[in-house]
Amino acid sequence: MKDSLVLLSRILAHPDSRCWFLAWNPAGTLLASCGGDRSVRIWGREGDSWICKSVLCEGHQRTVRKVAWSPCGNYLASASFDATTCIWKKNEDDFECVTTLEGHENEVKSVAWAPSGNLLATCSRDKSVWVWEVDEEDEYECVSVLNSHTQDVKHVVWHPSQELLASASYDDTVKLYREEEDDWVCCATLEGHESTVWSLAFDPSGQRLASCSDDRTVRIWRQYLPGNEQGVACSGSEASWKCVCTLSGFHSRTIYDVAWCQLTGTLATACGDDAIRVFEEDPGSDPQQPTFSLTAHVPQAHSQDVNCSWPSGSISRLKASEPLWLWIESCFPRKCPRTSPVPKRTRRSILDLPLFGPPAFRLGERLRATGPLTLPPLTRSPW
């Protein structure tokens, strides 16, 4: 492997609970993390260390699952299991909740801003994807509710340059949406994964989409426009997407996140086997059948599942060509401490946010059992 990863720093981001996600702001100066303690934390660099600049704890009543910065960097959206999405406005070092988007029937799993900054997408366990429009006065309006998926929608992501939305679901498919005559429609369904698709990432050009799944594979999909040279069939004027590469055999457990670095085009994955992997496309590989090689693998990078991986383009004090990767891990009450140290290597660097801490759950008070428990009417699974 030609490059390796170096551990830069460890931060105890969300004590007493799990850290589910993180996001760099567009400028690469701030890091937002969110977790099971219902808060969002903003981290900034001061010298060689990372300090917590802000804790946004008044926004949600349950776990905050994902956060996303607006393209301008002035707003932060947080998606929570309490079925709402909060929009926070940045005011120097402070953040103020300016709106709470409601409407989903249950847990909101993801939120994403379109590159234009005028559109926002959210998705939920209620199987829907909502598209919201925001105007200059910070007014949000839901412009579409898309019910294409048949199960829990895990992730949404926008195309880097077009107004094309992609969603990943528990129903094992990826769906793409675009606006057609004032309404949003599902324009493509990508089938192939054999289990829940957890996350998606477009490549820097937007021609390819990477998806990662519970089936332990990463699939690369390529867009083919009508009239393409390769003779890939398209229906009418709709582009079609074909799976051009499947990375299998590298991950031993569910892959929770995949990220495509905008600078270098490398692919990073966050896996339930506690490891971090980086893949690079082989130079000279056929664009219609690309091949990727594993260029870095850090086993036991975390003491728990790795939930998220995120590359940042520009961090001060680093050359522009050296992206800083970030991984976070999820943590449950751990009784045994980490025994193996993270190996030190050279060159490319990572910053990771592990969690160690006292148990996240407290045992309930002693309850006297008075007979069979009264269960709520269960016609279909409530969770």
Binding site: R65, S303, D305, F332, S340, G364, P372, L373, S381, P382
Partner: protein
């Protein structure tokens, strides 16, 4: 000289092996796995059934043989549990899966990854149930639902 000492040490290790005083590495593994499996079973057998005033052991929802432990690497184990629900009601099966997961998450002292499955052939929608109880995001969200949480807490409560 080296060959002689090599031959000597080989003979010695074979002698010890044959006499039961030392064992080749591979034979040691199953015993550790059995011990770990028993540790897991000790924790799950006292979990109460959500519907009936009995433990999972009493109802034979879980048995000693339903727990399998494999080594992933040093100090990290994969725990696989196959349970048999008493009734084919989906929601109760998923609830039992939830209880098993929560109990082990909190109480199992060694580092582990957990997979819970319904034993084959005991439920019509077992694939759906297996997928749901092994989805950590769904499990985490379920535990934030106050109704479900209360039921699970009562089921996993340690007996007096």
């Amino acid at each position: 000289m080296e060959r002689v000492s090599g031959l000597l040490s080989w003979t010695l290790s074979r002698f010890l092996w044959l006499s039961g005083l030392s064992e080749p590495g591979a034979a040691r593994q199953p015993r550790i796995m059995e011990e770990k499996a028993l540790e897991v079973y000790d924790l799950i057998r006292t979990i109460r059934d959500p519907e009936k005033p009995n433990t999972l052991e009493e109802l034979e929802v879980v048995t000693e043989s339903c727990v399998e432990v494999q080594e992933i690497n040093e100090d990290d184990y994969l725990v696989i549990i196959r349970f048999t629900p008493t009734v084919p009601h989906c929601s109760l099966a998923t609830l039992i899966g939830l209880c098993l997961r929560v109990k082990l998450q909190r109480c199992l002292p060694f580092k582990h990854k957990l997979e819970i499955y319904i034993s084959e052939g005991t439920h019509s929608t077992e694939e759906d149930i297996n997928k749901q109880i092994n989805d950590k995001e769904r499990v985490a969200a379920a535990m934030e639902n106050p109704n479900l949480r209360e039921i699970v807490e009562q089921c996993v409560l340690e007996p007096d």
